[in-house]
Structures are given as structure tokens and as C-alpha cells.
Amino acid sequence: MSKCSYTLPIGPVHPALKEPTMFKFVMDGEIVKEVDVQPGVNHRGIEFIGMRRNPLQVLHLAERICGICSIVHQYAFTMASEKAAGINDIPERAQYIRTIMAELERIHSHVLWAGVAAHELGFDTLLHWTWKLREDVQDVLEYISGNRVNYAMYYQGGVRRDISPEKIPRIKEMISAYRREFQKLADAFLEDPLFKHRTVNVGVLTKKDALETSAVGPTTRGSGVPKDVRVDQPYGGYADLDLKPCLPEQMGYPNTGDTYAKTVVRILEVGQSLDIIEFCLDNMPPGPIRWEMNVNKVLMHMKKAGGEAIGMTEAPRGEMIHYVRLDPGDENVSAWKVRASTYNNIIAWQKMLVGAQIADVAIVAASIDPCIGCMDRVTVVDGETGKEGVMTKEDFYRLSVRKTRRLRRMKGKPSGGGW
């Protein structure tokens, strides 16, 4: 009998996937031989909605790109629009509060991920226990901002709510509670024989592959690439801190890039975030929390200003970029582009999933902490036939030639919006 392979589709909607995306596996028995990822089924056109709103409105839209890492989207958009509008003197206290919020969210995201990873392995007791741990940080986020999710804290030129001195003891209490539970959390995952069996040498991303696919965040740090926006290009309060990227070797585990190594990185980062929050609380300078108290004046300043800028943050999942362009006289955001961390990391899926068993697909896919809602920014649809498709290199070449010709015809005329 001749050897044959078969194709196994998973998705776009599947119980193993938390969000819609499409996998096609070419299988040889139990082993994955080839992977094709076809995203694009969760496209909501958020950037287009944002381009019909003013920067203050987009703040709250950006927050809703993702349900888990909502604040980093807002952070990146705030930084980009501040740079574009030339708002440079953001009070230091506001910078520290921004840092505290971003780190609280990192704890919540990593603990949530740990629970999801346990769930993907069928260890639901651990899932419920980690999510119980997560409640504490959620309560603190609610205590500071008023909401458990979608905190509405950031603002061009500062933050909207202060962390007053009487709130600090409650946050410190949370930090010490997590420090008490930290070893238990680490043991429950890293010392568990079942967890080890399912994750060690599963979904390996070698250092070479991590660099080639330009993976970001814990995915790349698990492979030993010391890449972290907070260290490489510090923003907010991170510039005052002496940070080092968390690598698995700090816990005495080799930088193998398997799922276990990524878990080690995330658990180390929970500890790192606790240290950052404590530092920021202790060293928070007094002063105003906003560059301009009058919301209307901020709106007018953004309307008059023009420019383009990039805002970068280190989301729990890795580097995140927002590009914003403001045109003078135009109240709305002229252009807005979001590049979320999962966009880089799903390319690493192709390397990680090859050679894995079909039963490991769920945990390997989950190991990059995929967020399809963040990532799906574009769907290519043919306007005439209504068919969805994929843009190839030839298509881009054709479009580029067409644009050159169009510009040549328009020579002498103002180029308009650039579309």
C-alpha cells in the first residue's frame, strides 16, 4: 500500500479554539506534517470605525480591540496620538500610574493564560484554582478604576483617575498575597508530573526559528531571545527601572523554547510585575495627573495638531504597535493601524506545530497565548465577486504598478488622502 497523507481542518469554529481561526493540517498518522493557518474570520473593521472618530473617542474603541489586554491597546494608542499631536510633557505621576495599570493587567493576563493552558491539558481543577487567584488582581483593578475590565484610565496627556495614598495599602496587600501564593502557583505548574509530560519538548520553537519568524513576547523569550519593549525602548515608568527580560534560565531551566519554557517565562513575569508595581507605588512622584484638565481643550489641541507617530508597548503577549496619523484641521483620526503581538506569533505556529501530535495541537496553539481578536486586522474580499482570498506577492506587485500609474496620471495635482 502506498503511503498517503490526509488533510485535517480545525476551525474556523472549534471547541479547542477560544476564538475563530482556521487551521489546515497535513497529517501523517498522528503526526502533523504541514500547517496552514488561515486567519481573517474575526475581522471587525475596527480601524475603519476609528477613522471616523476623534482621538478621544478612539481611546475607548482601542480598549475594546481585545478583552484581556485592553489597556495595552489604549496605552499604545495614547502614546502614538500624543506623539502625533506634540503633547510631550505628560506628568510623571501619570506615567507611573500608567505603568502600574499595565503591570496589573500583565499579572491578570498571565494568570488567566496559565488557567487556559491547564484547561487545554484537561486539568480543569488547576484552571479553576488559577482563576480564583486571578480574582484578587481583578478586584484591585476594579478598586482603582471602577471596572473589572475596560478600565477607561488613559487619556491623551495623562490618566483619568488618580491612585490616592489611601488606596495604596489595598494594592500592597494584593502584592503580598500574590507573593505568598507565588511559590504554590509555580509548583502547581512546574513541579506537576502531568504538566511536565505534556509540555516538555512539545511545540519547540528554536532560537533560530524565533529570530526568523520575528516572534515577540514570552514566545520568543522562551527560546532565549532577550526581546522586550520595556527593556529595549522603555516608555512610561519603565525607564526608571532596572529591568531584564525574563528568560527560563533564570529559574534554572534551559532556553529550549518548548511550551514548558514559555510557562516558566510567564510565571517569572508575574513575579517581575509584582516588583515593578511595588517600585512604582513606593516611588510615585506627587503632582498633577493630567497635562490639561479641560477635556475640551485637549480635543481642540488634537484637532489643530498634525503629524504621525508610532506607539509601542509590551503587551502580555509581546510587542504591540499602533500607528496614528492626525491631519491639522481634521477632528478625526486620519489613519490608524494596529499591529498586535499575535500577528507575529502565529507565524511561529508553523514551526511549532510541525512534528507535534494531533492531541498536542491545542496546548501548542495556546502556548503563544493567541488573541485572534487583536490580530485579525484585514480580510481581502474581491469587490466584484464577493470572494475572499489571499494576497500573493504577484498581487502586491500588480497593485504597486497600478498605483504608480495612477500617481503619474495625477502628476501636478495634490495627492489627496494618499489612498
Binding site: 475607548h60 484554582w129 482603582i144 475596560n150 498633577p288
Partner: protein, 170 residues
């Protein structure tokens, strides 16, 4: 296999449940019957967890104080606010209407309102089968008992520099 979780799992058996059952202690078979019984005073409500300080709940609107400047409409990210033109068609005296089913609870309208006639209450029970029910469309919440004191805005860190050249990216 010996999991480090075993001790934790057994400890959980003796812990008090963390969840606060609301509105009654046990999951009722018929929610409508329970709601009716609560109205009649036969069943006592188990109080909800108190809301935090900065909680942003249902909007309250002082229609009389509103001057119809439309600033809130301008900043609302969800377009949840509708302008109601004055009955006589004149240039002044317009009011607004809030659709809570679209509200994202960001508090921007409250912040930008020059007359402080919008505020966010602590009410959170807003589930409804009709998006446009009277409970969810706010036209007037009556006069606010005490006007919030006009906040003296703290001095900005430095005044906005109008002539400043905007930065052009990284």
C-alpha cells in the same frame, strides 16, 4: 501521580464559597416568580457585593440644567447620545437623550459637561429584553439635589504650547 495540587484541592473543600449569590441564596427555578415574590415581600434579597468608589453605572441627567451644547455628543465613543432639538425649532434650548443599551460607561460625557448635569450613578441592574425600554432611555432624572462643587482645575503641568512643532514619529 503525586501532584502538588492535592493539598490545595482538599483545602478548598473546607473553604467558604467566594461567590456571592445574588439576588437569592439558591438558584431559583423560575426567576420571574422570584422577582414577583421579592416585590410582594415574601423573599428577602441577598445583598449584592458593594460597588467600588469609582464605579460607573447608569447615567443620571439633569435635563433642566442642560444648555444643549452638544459637547457630550461630540466625545461619546459609542454614539449613545441623541440630540433632541427644541420644540419651537429655535437655536437654543436643545436637550439630549441617552441610550443606555449603547453606553460603554467611559464617563467622558460626565467629564466634558460644562454644566455638570450628567453624572454616573451606582445603579447596575440594567438587564432588559427591550433595548429601548423606558429603563434604558434616559431623558430626565430630575434636578440633582446638590450640584457637585465646581472643581477648581489644578494648574496644568505646563500650558499647551500652540506654536510647538508636532513630533513626526520615531
Amino acid at each position: 501521580m503525586a501532584s502538588p495540587m492535592w493539598f490545595e484541592i482538599f483545602r478548598q473543600l473546607f473553604d467558604r464559597p467566594f461567590t456571592n449569590p445574588f439576588p437569592v441564596k439558591y438558584a431559583p427555578k423560575n426567576m420571574h416568580a422570584v422577582a414577583k415574590a421579592i416585590e410582594e415581600g415574601k423573599v428577602r434579597i441577598n445583598p449584592p457585593v458593594p460597588v467600588p468608589d469609582n464605579f460607573r453605572g447608569k447615567i443620571e441627567y439633569d435635563r433642566e440644567a442642560c444648555i444643549g451644547c452638544r459637547m457630550c455628543i461630540k466625545v461619546c465613543p459609542a454614539n449613545a447620545i441623541e440630540f433632541v432639538p427644541p420644540p419651537d425649532g429655535g437655536p437654543k434650548g436643545g436637550k439630549v437623550k441617552f441610550y443606555m443599551s449603547r453606553c460603554t460607561f467611559c464617563e467622558l460625557c460626565t467629564e466634558i459637561c460644562p454644566k455638570h448635569c450628567i453624572r454616573m450613578s451606582t445603579e447596575f441592574l440594567m438587564a432588559d429584553t427591550n433595548k429601548y425600554s423606558d429603563n434604558l432611555v434616559i431623558t430626565d432624572s430630575g434636578r440633582f439635589a446638590e450640584q457637585p462643587p465646581p472643581q477648581a482645575p489644578p494648574k496644568p503641568a505646563s500650558p499647551p504650547d500652540a506654536g510647538q512643532q508636532p513630533a513626526s514619529g520615531e
